[in-house]
Symmetry: C2
Subunit: 185 residues, 2 copies
DNA sequence: GTCTATACGAAGATAGAC
DNA sequence: GTCTATCTTCGTATAGAC
């Protein structure tokens, strides 16, 4: 029955939104239920591990979404990939009125003992993004190692710029940063 | 009596550490008391506004600490300023075994309704840092506007790299990023 | 100024009916 | 699978003694 998995995926989707906007601690069971409309009685049916499982699955799911996007840049040139990557984040920021950020960064900034593994997940996710971007950046103008350093810098700068954009409620930091990064490509 | 303000400043100091390591929600009254050794009975004496006041004052205080450091770079050259700025953050990371990050970024990643003003504080703090760094970067080789764009990029990249360093428990992201940024100077 | 005790609310989790 | 209690824990805040 497709309906049963429906509630589950809606809960994950709501958890991702909450993770983006309010951080790990903002992903409460009540908030997920309210925002997803899922039946209260089925939370621990779908997530026997409770809130921890819900948060971790939401983080994994959102990380994979972004990973898939980055993977799709494999065949475009470096500048286009950078601009697409940034455009994606600008969309997240603007559509949420600067309330939403990166769910992976949220895992790092808010450490709690009951969510061990969340930091590792963030670390691995960043590695994956860097590897994939490096593949896109690699060409005859630079070595693989140079492409990786460049990719790491792009991820770092974009992540930091997202935080600044949220704080200042403006896309300017991201716009300025991408212009500077383009100079490095 | 210097002793009376002692408990207060110790509480602020503990709150800053907690803000760095566990985020806004990690700054609980109990944790601050445990870590500062301050007497329980005097929390609401020193902070009538309760936890919210404690968190905001801690954030302001830590932001000012970093602002003071950046201001001291006014007379050095751009490359030295960048390296000192990064060295400062590496110290925070390594000494905490990668558990601590930027308290200002923590304000942004974890939004809660009872702490309105925290996002604005973060936005203003980032602006201040960019302005000060831009003053250091400004010289005869570039305009003030160019210096500001450069400074904004430095802050963004360093902030993002800090997040990546914490996630991967390594200073490598910061090292790589600063090498790339040096190319922009 | 600082103590202990306690009220209050929020949130996670479980139990048992349907 | 989903419902409605209910239990428990935790964290903020207050009260009143010292």
């Amino acid at each position: 029955m497709a309906r049963t998995t429906d509630a589950r995926s809606r809960m994950i989707s709501s958890a991702i939104d909450l993770l983006r906007e309010r951080g790990v601690n903002g992903v409460t069971v009540d908030a997920v239920l309210a925002s997803s409309g899922a039946p209260r009685g089925s939370v621990y049916h779908h997530f026997p591990g409770g809130r921890s499982q819900l948060v971790l699955e939401a983080a994994e799911s959102s990380a994979e979404l972004m990973t898939t996007m980055i993977r799709s840049y494999a065949d475009v040139d470096a500048t286009t990939a950078l601009q697409d990557f940034v455009a994606l984040w600008k969309d997240v920021l603007v559509r949420s009125d600067f309330r939403a950020g990166c769910p992976v960064a949220a895992l790092v900034n808010e450490t709690s003992t009951d969510l061990s593994g969340s930091v590792d997940l963030a670390g691995q996710t960043f590695s994956t993004w860097v590897e994939l971007l490096a593949t896109t950046f690699a060409d005859d103008r630079r070595t693989r190692a140079e492409a990786e350093d460049l990719a790491l810098t792009v991820v770092a700068t974009v992540e930091g710029a997202i935080t600044m954009c949220r704080a200042q409620r403006s896309v300017r930091p991201l716009d300025v940063a991408v212009a500077q990064l383009t100079g490095l490509l």
